[in-house]
Amino acid sequence: MKNTIKIERAVKNITQEDLAKKIGVSRQTINAMEAGKYVPSTVLALKIAKYFDRKVEDIFELEDED
């Protein structure tokens, strides 16, 4: 699964640390998601989408191998 967290973060101009604090997760979690090493739970995906004021599908996208 691909995601655009890094791009959204750049648009809002906030660091991984700040985003993590806003959403209530650890910085490692944001880092792992951006690196594509971790697929978040539905709850976390919804929280991220809500924070960026977007739909989940706008941020998370299925890839061919999924």
Partner: protein
């Protein structure tokens, strides 16, 4: 978000303080660098050879090498405190790291045990098995913290 039931975060620091020194001392006590005294104490159960000897059984006095026992106890207590304390922010990704490290340490431990079963025989085998008892916990603690710190 559901996460595991764990001890509060400050237990982790206490755990490290107990775990690391006792691990080092425990390893040193296997070598000749540390010479440790034997202490005579009543123990809950003393078993030895020959099995018919009067000194075996419940609540007997026996010579114990008390320090290796103590180090073993402290390694377990320290390891549990480190391994079962929350991170500052314990979330779903941290839980997935825990799962990964437990699984990794299980596979690593049994791979080593398998090799030992095939290669070591005699009383050294039992000594090796005593040491192997600590391996799942020790490997989990180090693997988990390695994954946590790794970029």
């Amino acid at each position: 978000m559901n996460t595991l039931k764990l001890l509060p975060n400050h237990f982790k620091k206490i755990g490290w303080i107990i775990f690391i020194p006792s691990l080092i001392l425990g390893i040193l006590s296997l070598t000749d660098i540390l010479t440790l005294p034997e202490v005579s104490l009543p123990v809950f159960y003393n078993s030895g050879f020959p099995l018919s000897s009067e000194e075996n059984g419940l609540f007997e006095n026996t010579e114990i090498t008390i320090f290796p026992n103590l180090f073993g106890i402290l390694i377990i207590i320290g390891g549990i405190l480190v391994g079962c304390s929350k991170e500052k922010i314990e979330d779903e990704y941290i839980s997935s790291l825990r799962l990964k490290s437990v699984f990794w340490s299980l596979i690593a431990t049994y791979s080593i045990i398998l090799v030992l079963f095939l290669t070591i025989f005699g009383s050294l085998f039992f000594t090796a098995m005593i040491l192997i008892m600590f391996l799942p916990l020790v490997l989990y603690v180090f693997r988990f913290n390695y994954l946590l710190l790794k970029k």
